[in-house]
């Protein structure tokens, strides 16, 4: 394993074991959010929200130790956003979160039955599990690629967002309540949307 890959493993483990707030804190370590964030609002670990900053209403960010913070009143886009190693580190944190939630989904699907059969034995459910597991492998491989262009980085994060949604669906309606741990995948997508550098090319439909 190269040094870069070992570093990414650290972020992946942090996301998996410590959660999004801990992972995001590590990704943003040493950065001034107001100077780096590409928008006027950023998702930050609640503990690192600037004193006196305006906190925007969000129904469950605080439950994950996060805050939606307006960085500068009356302004719009500001900083360049995350690129290179930090964008890869954020991807690794997100892969860790996704991996943890996929394991939780498998445990639920093994225990739950519909029409007498465990849900995990249903073909469509199995296909969803396989798709997410595959995406985790691809994303892990991609996160270690140095010098990926911003467009490729964003695309990989978008795929993680879709894999997160596929995983969230596996929890059914209970995953749509704010007290369910899979809420972290919604916030994982929001973190990418708010922190990644925008590509210079025009983006459209995938």
């Amino acid at each position: 394993m190269t040094g870069a890959r070992a570093g990414l493993r650290h972020y992946l483990d942090l996301g998996r074991e410590g959660g999004l707030a801990a992972g995001l804190a590590a990704v943003l370590d040493g950065l001034d959010p107001a100077a780096a964030a590409p928008g006027a609002v950023a998702l930050l670990p609640a503990a690192s929200a600037p004193p006196g900053a305006e906190l925007l209403t969000h129904p469950f960010a605080a439950l994950e130790g996060l805050a939606l913070v307006r960085l500068a009143a009356g302004t719009t886009a500001t900083g360049p956003g995350l690129t290179g190693p930090r964008a890869a580190a954020l991807a690794a944190v997100r892969i860790g979160l996704l991996s943890r939630m996929l394991d939780a989904a498998v445990r639920r699907l093994e225990a739950r039955r519909f029409g007498g059969l465990p849900l995990v034995d249903r073909q469509l459910v199995g296909a969803a599990l396989a798709d997410v597991a595959t995406e985790i492998e691809v994303a892990t491989a991609a996160a270690g690629r140095p010098d990926a262009p911003a467009e490729a980085v964003r695309d990989q994060h978008e795929r993680l967002t879709e894999a997160g949604w596929t995983t969230t669906r596996l929890f059914g309606a209970e995953g749509y309540l704010t007290d369910h741990p899979v809420r972290c995948l919604h916030l994982s997508a929001l973190a990418a949307d708010l922190w990644l550098a925008r590509p210079t090319v025009t983006e459209g439909v995938r």
Binding site: P59, G81, L194, E203
Partner: protein, 390 residues
């Protein structure tokens, strides 16, 4: 397949609904922040439209009048036309409106005249929200595993026909704020023993609590516990119908009817995303493709409604419409976020809210996987009937 063009009457209804949608959009952020505080929103013109369009005239409903046309509780297609336009304002606000909702659809199917009158007059007189309680914790909507029970009361209660309701229902729209509704439970162990009962939230043994939702918070999901709630014989639905039509048959018809409504909510939300991009980045790549896909889904939703008006048991297009619309709304949402960028998530709070809302449509009235199975079964059955001819 020909395109379903709305006639003058339906175009008038669509126009009237569209006029009220901007107000819903303006009220939506406050509802998202405080989904159980409906007082500030009860005067919304769209709530009045919904009340008029869902209360039958014979039970005191006052029709919506648009020009020379009048609209009361009507066809599936009519409902889908106004619902999609209102959801284009905000789907969460649509679901926050008081009214008969799903419970009314079941009472239409399974209630006798006296039960329908009791239900609709109670909803109208109280301006009430209603609940439709099938889903159970850890069981979902697996009817075969349903645990809620309707047990005969002990003889000393004095009424030999009295039942007592026991059990828990979860993820129920209007669960905590509903004044009355319908609840499914077992009277025995067989497949025909599932019955539906009209239940008043003020009855002894009824307890409900709010559930905090990720999005579409106007739907106000709740958990309801029944501990010996008395259900007199006259509140058991379908008492005038044969055993095969007393329980889940009605629920299946309700689900067939509601699926395109969920699709309409999804299409409306997708079109709302398009509005944001059109305003903020009018030349965004993909705009016409996303809008075109949503318009195709709108057409499919209308066709599903027309098919249901011909045959209430024909749910094939309902399932297809839900699959397509839920996916299209999600694609529109992700495209909007990518197109508008991080600044928009601050400047357009509804963008962030709608990205949470769009997830709800997946879980309402059967997931996309369940709908895929419905569509596949319909396809196979249709080929069987036709001897394999296309």
């Amino acid at each position: 397949m020909t395109v379903l063009e709305l006639d003058e009457r339906l175009r008038a209804l669509r126009g009237a609904a569209a006029e009220t949608a901007p107000e819903l959009r303006a009220l939506a952020p406050a509802l998202d922040a405080a989904p159980h505080d409906l007082k500030p929103h009860l005067g919304a013109a769209a709530f009045d439209l919904i009340r008029r369009c869902t209360t039958p005239q014979r039970f005191g409903g006052d029709p919506l009048r648009v020009g020379r046309f009048a609209f009361s509780a009507g066809s599936s297609l009519e409902t889908l036309v106004w619902m999609l336009e209102l959801a284009h304002g905000d789907a969460g606000m649509v679901l926050a409106a008081p009214g008969p909702n799903l419970a009314g659809l079941l009472v239409d199917q399974l209630g006798d005249e006296q039960q329908q009158e009791y239900f609709y007059r109670a909803v109208a007189d109280r301006g009430a929200w209603t609940f439709f309680a099938v889903t159970e914790p850890d069981r979902g909507s697996d009817a075969g595993a349903m645990e809620s029970k309707l047990e005969r009361a002990a003889p000393e209660r004095g009424d030999p026909e009295l039942h007592l309701l026991h059990g828990t229902k979860k993820y129920i729209g209007n669960g905590a704020r509903g004044a009355l509704g319908v609840v499914f439970a077992r009277t025995g162990s067989g497949p025909l023993s599932i019955r539906a009962a009209l239940v008043d939230a003020a009855a002894p043994g009824f307890a409900a609590q709010e559930l905090d939702m990720v999005g579409l918070r106007g739907a106000a999901l709740g958990e309801i516990r029944f501990t010996g709630v008395p259900v007199p014989q006259e509140r058991l639905l379908a008492r005038h119908l044969p055993p095969t039509r007393r329980g889940l048959w009605g629920a299946v018809r309700v689900f067939n009817t509601v699926r395109p409504q969920v699709a309409a909510l999804a299409v409306g939300t997708g079109l709302a995303f398009v509005d944001l991009v059109r305003a903020g980045r009018p030349h965004a790549p993909g705009l016409e493709a996303v809008a075109g896909r949503l318009e195709a889904c709108r057409q499919l939703v209308y066709q599903a409604g027309a098919a249901l008006d011909l045959d209430r048991d024909d749910g094939r297009l309902s399932s297809a419409a839900k699959i397509a619309a839920v996916a299209a709304a999600r694609e529109a949402g992700r495209w909007a976020v990518r197109s508008l960028g991080p600044a928009a998530l601050a400047e357009q709070p509804l963008l962030e809210k709608w990205t949470r809302d769009m997830g709800a449509f997946e879980f309402m009235e059967g997931t996309s996987d369940i709908q895929r199975l419905h569509v596949a079964r319909s396809l196979v059955r249709a080929r069987g009937r036709s001897g394999g001819r296309p």
